[in-house]
């Protein structure tokens, strides 16, 4: 009995040791901190009384919905406190104008929103803002508020480096991988190819690498990230065959948010912080910083 117990202790010690080593590795890996955005208390002071923005600024707390699984846009590993990516950087700029410190998890809570739950989360107030590669569409605007866009992107293809695919026309009738229930799958089908759906883009990358499908497709920005991650094995090809206007989602019950978001974005376009946010995220994979997109007008309330 004694023998067994001491063996158990050794095993437990070994396990603890290996766990701590693992945790150590995780910490060493995350050097992407993004931009350092400070809380702007002056801007928070001048928010109109009675507005939702003022309410949030006074409460000192906001919940922002972003994606956790899209490198370059919204990405968070289990060991990170704060997600990284362009969506997140734009969100940081917005919340800083409410006088909140984006690096303080007690002030800014980052919630994972997947494609399926973005509208319900906004409708029942689980999040205050959504910046989760959220395309602006007429149908979505029936149930939630959307404004922007803060980025315009289009769909491209990710194929193996040695593949001789030049555009989506070369893949008519063939299977192309994307995420189940995403807009990307519909666009693939519209172009005459067959969309097959998986749970995440990284699973599609796996399917392209093992040759089950010739290509995967979604926003070029996301594909660039994967191409950079698998340099020499994968490449991005083809012209963009769709146009997505990526915007900010807010609750329809708080229409005053729209003008504030637009004003803040305009300011970020003008003072260069938007361009800087692009450079430290998507710009790293080699894409050039585009001109800021033109913002939609807010619905008159």
């Amino acid at each position: 009995m004694r023998f067994i117990r001491s063996k158990g202790a050794v095993a437990a010690f070994g396990l603890a040791l290996s766990l701590s080593t693992l945790a150590g590795c995780g910490d060493a890996g995350s050097d992407d901190e993004g931009r350092d955005v400070k809380a702007d208390t002056d801007a928070a002071e001048s928010l109109p009384d009675g507005s939702r923005m003022k309410e949030i600024a006074d409460a000192g707390k906001i919940k922002v919905g972003v994606k956790f699984d899209q490198p370059g846009l919204g990405f968070k590993t289990a060991t990170d406190d704060i997600p990284t990516g362009f969506d997140v950087e734009v969100a940081k700029i917005l919340v800083s104008k409410l006088g909140l410190d984006p690096s303080d998890p007690s002030q800014v809570q980052w919630e994972e929103t997947v494609s399926d739950n973005r509208e319900p989360f906004l409708q029942n107030g689980k999040v205050d803002l959504v910046l989760a590669s959220y395309s602006i569409t007429d149908d979505r605007q029936k149930v939630v508020g959307q404004t922007g866009p803060y980025m315009i992107t289009g769909q491209q293809l990710l194929v193996k480096s040695d593949a001789d695919v030049e555009s989506i026309d070369d893949l008519k009738g063939k299977e192309i991988c994307s995420v189940t229930g995403s807009t990307s799958i519909d666009r693939i089908n519209e172009q005459g190819a067959k969309g097959v759906g998986f749970d995440s883009y990284s699973e599609c990358v796996q399917k392209v690498l093992d040759g089950t499908v010739e290509a995967m497709s979604t926003d070029g920005a996301i594909l660039m990230g994967y191409a950079a991650e698998n340099e020499g094995e994968l490449k991005v090809v083809g012209d963009e065959f769709s146009e997505e206007n990526i915007g900010v989602g807010y609750s329809k019950k708080e229409p005053e948010m729209c003008q504030w978001i637009n004003d803040t974005l305009t300011e970020a376009f003008d003072d260069g912080s938007w361009a800087e946010a692009f450079e430290v995220t998507l710009g790293k994979s080699g894409s050039e910083t585009p001109d800021p997109p033109e913002l939609n007008d807010c619905p008159s309330s």
Partner: protein, 230 residues
Amino acid sequence: MDAVLDNLDLYFKAFGYTVALFLVSGVTSMILGTLLAAFRVGPVPVLRWATSVYVTLVRNTPLVIVFAAFSFMAPMLWGPLNFRWLSVHIGGFDFTAFFAAAVVSLSLYTSSFVCEALRSGVNAVSVGQAEAARAIGLPFSGVMSQVVLPQAFRASVPPLASVQIALIKNTSVAAVFGVAEATSQMRSITNDFSSQRTEIFIAFAIGYVVIVEVFSFFAARLESHWRVAR
């Protein structure tokens, strides 16, 4: 409701894939499960042991993990397991590598439940039946196929029906493994028409209910039909 009504062709095609997944995996799992049950009650110790390990292992593994194993792990271990050799196109339906991996995962998973349901049926057949069959000189295969299994099947129609109904609903896991079946289509339509979320959800739930009810109807018919013969 417009979202579904305007896309009825997509709706029916998606449920077509669901039914196809169910039919192919259902038949395969029944055949495989019957074999497993025969091994598990059979006279060969190695087979008895091997099948009980198989059943314990597969029955205790979440279905998503089984799917992941055949979608991501198996192709790395052995080339042909990427199922790329399959490419059948019937009408507008494509049966390719993703469909094959889904069928294999669903069949292997369900067969362990079929085996256990059948084994309970075998246990319901009185020992005297098997002894009498052996006494007239039947080999083990004869005892099983002529005497024990026919009675075991009759006794286990209700649990087998439950297992197959679970299979119908389990096909929805294939949605995130490359098969454009009902759940996957539901998510696509929801993404395009988020203002009609509830209606879309109800429409697809009804589809599943109808399939299960049709299947239950035949299972109940079979049960009452066989009850007379007993």
